[in-house]
Structure formats: C-alpha cells, structure tokens
Symmetry: C2
Subunit: 222 residues, 2 copies
C-alpha cells in the first residue's frame, strides 16, 4: 500500500527505504562533522552514536566498521564539495583578466573554508592508510577545478587572446599560484582564516603573473 513506483527511476521506494536513506544521511552528516573536526583517530563510534541519539547497534547496522563509515563520509563529503564547484565559473565577461580574477576568487573562497581545510587535512593524513580516499578526493576536487578552468582557457586560446599552449597545465598552474600560499599556511595552522583583502591581493598577484606569462609574443595587447 505504501509502496510507490517511482516512474523516473523505475525503482521501488517503500516508506522503509526512504527512512533508511534518511537515517543513513543523518549518520553521515554527524560522522562527517566529527571526522572533520576531530580527525580519524579522534572520532569514536560511540561518540557518533551518542550525538545521533540512537544506539550503537543501529550504527553497525548501517556501516560494518569504522573504516567503512570513514570511506562513506569521504565519498559523501567530496561529492558535496564538487557540487559547489560548478557554480564558481562565473559567466565570462568581456574582460579576460577580470573573468580569471572572479574565477580565482571563487576558488579561493571555497578552498580556504574551515571545512575545506579540515577535509584536505583529513585526506592527506589518512592517504597513507587509505589510498583510495586520496584518489576520490583528488578526482572530485582539484582535478575538477583544473578541468573546468582548462576548458575555458582552451576557448580563450583558440580565440587567440593568449598564448596557445597546454590548457590543462596552464589551468593547473594558475590555480596553484592562487591557492597554494594561504592553503599551505592554513593547513599548517599558521593562520586561521584568509580575509577578503588577503585573498584579493593574492589573486591579483597570481593572475598578473599568469597573464604576463601567457601574453602573446608579438606586441599585441591582450
């Protein structure tokens, strides 16, 4: 009676399965918070069960071990992370330099978020024991960024606005120039946050350097 056939996906979605999905999401949310804030070793299954309000048995009903839960969390959280990326490439405007600055600022805003830093730390910290986590994160976050920017740069190169050379590498290098400085300092705990003017200045430096390096060889102004 309460069984619905979802016409779009064609799969059965009983009330039970919906609830189960909700519950799973709730667990993932709570677990994500804990892993991001306390790290892997600092997170306890008992603690998660406690803040969930349920019992430990239920937790193990969904995830067979701490490692399994951790994997699911990384998966879940990086998918969210990537979802935020698509919005970043603002509508390109006529001014190339300005468009790049907007793009870079968007990335910086995202990457210097406390959550982003925590996630980055977590992945790096556990990449030794769980190499798949590194792969998952890299493919969904940095790589996606490079690809997005590379596609844009390829168009710009084709229109002869900048030196036409390895768009993917160019994208990676530009992002690196923007992001590395403060990211490094935040990962190492030297600073807590990157303020808007700090970000603006760094983006300025990076895009200027990039534009000079990718200017056309003849005297044509870009």
């Amino acid at each position: 009676m309460n069984m619905e056939r979802n016409p779009a996906s064609g799969c059965v979605t009983s009330r039970r399965e919906i609830r189960r999905q909700d519950r799973r999401d709730a667990i993932l949310t709570v677990a994500a918070r804990s892993f991001l804030e306390q790290g892997y070793a600092g997170t306890t299954m008992s603690g998660i069960a406690a803040t969930l309000g349920g019992s430990k048995g239920t937790l193990w009903n969904y995830f067979g071990s701490k490692e399994e839960l951790f994997a699911a969390v990384i998966d879940h959280v990086t998918i969210e992370y990537r979802a935020g990326l698509s919005e970043i490439l603002a509508e390109p405007c006529d001014d190339l330099r300005l468009t790049l600055k907007r793009f870079c600022t968007g990335i910086m805003d995202k990457v210097t978020t406390p959550d982003a830093i925590s996630l980055h730390r977590l992945v790096v910290a556990e990449a030794g024991r769980f190499p798949e986590m590194g792969r998952i994160f890299y493919d969904r976050a940095p790589l996606q960024t490079y690809v997005l920017l590379a596609e844009f740069l390829e168009g710009v190169m084709a229109r002869g606005l900048i030196r036409a050379e390895e768009p993917m590498q160019a994208a990676r290098l530009l992002v690196t120039l923007c992001v590395s400085g403060y990211q490094q300092k935040m990962l190492m705990g030297l600073i807590e946050t990157a303020t808007t003017p700090m970000i603006a200045a760094e983006v300025e430096r990076a895009t200027d350097l990039f534009m000079r390096a990718y200017a056309l060889e003849d005297g044509t102004p870009s």
Copy 2:
C-alpha cells in the same frame, strides 16, 4: 677524573652526559622512523621501547609523555631537513635560467623524498592539535627555501636581468610552481615517487613560465 671542561662552550661534559646525549639521539632516531612511517596514532611508546631494546622506564626517563617525544622528534627532524637545504643553492653560473633550473631541481629532489612527504603529512595531520609543530616546520623548511631563493633573485633584479618586483613573493611563487603539482599528488597517495624526467619536465614548465612573467618589459632579451 673523566670530567672534561670544554673550552669552546665552557660547559662540563662528563662521560655520563655524553652517554645521555647519545641515548637521547638514539631514541629520537627510532621514534622519528616510527612517527614518519606510522603516523602519530599509529606509533606506540611500547613499540619504540621495544625496538630500542631498552625498557619503558628509560624512555619515560627521557621524555615525559608521548606528546613531548613527538615535539622533540619534529624539532629534530626539521633541523636535519633544513640542514640539507643550504647545499641546494648551487653555485650560480652565467646562465640565469640554468641556475634557476638547478635550484628548482634540487628542491624538487628533496621535497619528493619519501621522508619529506611523510614529514609533510605528519605536520599537516597534527597541525590542528599541535599548532607549534606547524610553525616549527614552516619556519625551517618552506620559509628557508623562499628566503634563500629570494636573496638570489634580489641580486638578479638589482643587476637588471629581470623585472624588479617583490623578490620574496617571486621566490615563493616560483617554488610553488615547481613543487605543488607532484607534492600534491604524493601527499594524497596518487603516486609513490617522482622520477627524474618527471621532475625535469615540471621544472622546465615552471621556470619557463616564471621567466616569461618576469622578463623585462622592453624588448631586451634576458
């Protein structure tokens, strides 16, 4: 009788103190290996004592807690790390581009070492709980590198060979361009090692980009 007065430092160096120093070093060496390879949580005091051969009591005689030992290890290991840096800035030759490439290659060789990667991971992983570790590492490793290169670049700028602008920032950006790509991949466990040709290609890309960006504005060839 076996007490010597060291004329240089003016401090007493009894046989006992020498032994103590040796012992301390031995502990640090063993502990460093364990922390680098197993991480903080994966390292056990009992394990260290066991591979040392001695007893646990002795270990606590030297370091009052695991955290204290960890701090000492980071300190010790980053000092060694920095010591290796001074050798890197090869004697500058006439060709600026070549000198930069040598410098960058030296840095890359050092930074992609398994130990360097492990240390980097360790610092990033624990920077949340032990912020001082981040500071110690940053000041001794990346910052030193930037300073070293910045001094060199300042000279080059003064001689009018490249655009004269913020040598410290220039140094940081060049190092970042070289290092970030493979460092990121190694930290995340995507690749195990960076081969010589890989490094050479990356250094080529980075220095080319840098030289184009810092070329003088008039048509003078650098």
